[in-house]
Symmetry: C2
Subunit: 426 residues, 2 copies
């Protein structure tokens, strides 16, 4: 029994299937060498004497994974919300991201982001940086220190941006990307690079070809945006007349999942059937970003359809299309919009349940990082302690009712502890 | 110049029309005898020497009005959210409300509610109690102490409820209501009674007749629910075969606005044209409860249509169909659902803007209480101080951008001061 063995005591909840949350009141969750070793109502003899953190009947849940977030957009989240996607990009997001050529500005902005995401219930994330290599490396440095596990991408964009936020050529973008990968690929314990073509309208075919080659050479995962907004989709159709649907614009360059190319595509609000079939075939992860899709008036993604199709799906905050970094809030938002989808669009698409969004936020997104998002034996020990002490109530609630309250009512004050791969964050 | 004259200093924002928020940076908002006396960049000589509370560049906005909230449901907000309206009433809301026959339970539950609403940005509210006279009086006592101004209603319900939450007869319900009115009508400075038939399915025609008589005798305002949910609307059609639409079920008993009968109808998600016409003719207030309509999968109210029709409309949290008592959050929710309505239902119905929801939350709902919701001269001095100091940012934001951030990001920590009719709450 090594020194890295310890236990958390509290009411333990984790997904045992997409439709069931297992609940273990007043139990011990044991960590050994960074992995989950089991849940026990009494500590077995082999564990007598290990350190125990008694959370005093707080809830203990698996860490939450944010599959899609733009780190440089955090400090201007919730500004300009009365705009649609393309207008918001031109007026708010692009001018702001351009400021990250200034490393001092980047440090101020990223420090705010990193501080807040550290205190949140998020243990793993896949984040966009900006096109700037130095600022992206700074973000990786800052994120490494938090102890959270993150994929972080230097963004590629060589067309249709403003002069202040565009790479000079596909070749320049590719060279910068290679230099960046060489610099960071073995530098960190917690942080890893991910290829990040912004989205098809921002990347020439030439750049996409380069990125396809880089992907094959360095075996990096990929993240981008897919079928978010109707105007964007029409634009992609014009830009890529040779493709039958948006997903093919990535797939033709080997940037859409498949063997050796784990891929996250954010949004998928308006996927035609062929696109969904390819997503499934290639094992692409969908990052469902309900709040962002609402804020930018993109629509509501048909999540019930995706769950029934059995595709890989997790949740994303999509800061700053979304404004909240809280993955608990993202869960609540996902339930809410699924109800409106059911009521307004398709009354065969049953609303999402608490169990389903909890699954997507834990196992669903976590599996992009390996054995993550569960307390089954052998999973990485990512855990979050949720206290509801500042939310008093006069009646009795079951653990699942308490969890439901925290999904809807919690803020950073309710996140009282966090562990990533066995390391205590706070 | 009396001792009740004082000023707040900060960045002052209030609605000057439905589409414009006036902004006065670094200015003084003067209160005289509980009323707004003016906004000044420098204090005029007549006011030299009055006490000034310097908010250090916080935003100062009019107090917010919550036009629809169920006080006894607060302590179980966000529990059972995976249900629709009628199922949720039977399984969660009704059994919980039944507990308010026990005054000790009522005190525990209402204390939690009153404490939280006091710390919120809400200065005025119109609340449902339960059918219990004693518990409703207790709620009124507790609310009176907060200094907030509130209409509070003992609920009437004599049919279709569970045995544990139903009045024995229309006559009993009426007698209880009269006894309650006699007890409370002159008792308070801040709190006033409002007639509160729960909704048509809960009230026999006989009871409605009695309430119509009571309304005429005591000149009380009225609050109830209207056209919230499709199943509810079909049910009302069955219960009231003599009516052409739901609103007539109230109107036939004189409980639907008009001279001497100020009325709030919550929801109005699915109003036919004739109903909207009657709402306008009778001057009925619509309490738009976006979050609740989402949570209970009722749908999205066509607010753009109501604004264009020029009907009276304010916002409501509808605790516990809604789970958040924050009227700032209610504003954000209203913008969000209006975007989905526009995208999914009617692309002629432009999404609501920040200016419009701010207007509805201040002047819109406030006008139910008189000259309330504005800082124009002569309005009651209801003011809220909003600090964004715990939401740091590296860039410059305009006052309206700061307001937008607070609408989306604030919680109780950002509400650092509140005044109602000139009285400092904190």
């Amino acid at each position: 029994m090594k020194q890295t063995t310890f236990a958390l005591k509290g009411t333990i909840c984790y997904s045992q299937s997409q439709n069931q949350i297992g609940v273990y009141p007043d139990s011990y969750l044991v960590c050994e060498n960074g992995l989950c070793a089991g849940i026990f109502s009494e500590l077995p003899e082999a564990y007598h004497g290990i350190p125990v953190r008694d959370t005093e009947d707080s809830l203990i849940i698996p860490g939450l994974t944010d599959l899609h977030i733009h780190a440089p957009q955090y400090s201007f989240r919730s500004v300009g919300m009365d705009m649609e996607l393309l207008q918001w990009l031109d007026n708010i997001a692009f001018p702001e991201e351009a400021k990250f050529s200034d490393l001092e500005y980047a440090r101020k902005s990223y420090s705010i982001f990193v501080n807040d995401v550290k205190r949140s219930a998020t243990t793993r994330l896949s984040a966009f940086g900006t096109l700037h290599v130095k600022a992206t490396e700074l973000l990786m440095d800052l994120m490494e220190e938090t102890g959270l596990k993150a994929y972080i991408g230097k963004v590629n964009m060589d067309r249709n941006g403003p002069d202040i936020l565009q790479e000079k050529s596909a070749r320049d973008s590719a060279l910068d990307t290679i230099a960046w990968i060489e610099e960071v690929q073995d530098k960190y314990k917690n942080v890893r690079p991910i290829l990040t073509p912004r989205f098809t309208p921002s990347c020439t075919d030439e750049l996409m070809k380069e990125l396809g080659r880089i992907q094959k050479q360095y075996h990096l995962p990929v993240q981008s945006h897919l079928s978010e907004n109707l105007s964007e989709i029409s634009w992609v159709k014009e830009l890529c007349p040779n493709t039958a649907f948006y997903g093919e614009a990535y797939d033709q360059f080997g940037l859409f999942g498949g063997e050796g190319c784990p891929t996250i595509m954010a949004h998928c609000v308006h996927c035609p059937d062929e696109e969904l079939a390819l997503i499934k075939k290639r094992g692409v992860y969908i990052a469902h970003c309900s709040q962002s899709n609402t804020n930018l008036a993109s629509g509501i993604a048909p999540v019930r359809r995706y769950l029934e199709a059995g595709v890989k799906i997790g949740l994303g905050s999509d800061i700053a299309g979304g404004f909240s970094v809280s993955m608990l809030r993202v869960m609540a938002d996902s339930i809410q919009t699924s109800k409106l989808y059911w009521r307004l669009k398709d009354n065969a698409a049953k609303p999402l349940t608490l169990e389903e969004v909890f699954y997507m936020a834990t196992v669903g997104g976590g599996s992009f990082f390996g054995k993550v998002g569960s307390f089954e034996k052998g999973y990485e020990f990512d855990a979050v302690i949720l206290s509801d002490r500042n939310l008093p109530y006069p009646q009795e609630f079951t653990p699942l009712q308490r969890l439901e309250r925290l999904v809807y009512l919690s803020d950073d004050r309710n996140i009282t502890g966090k562990y990533v791969a066995g390391t205590r964050i706070f």
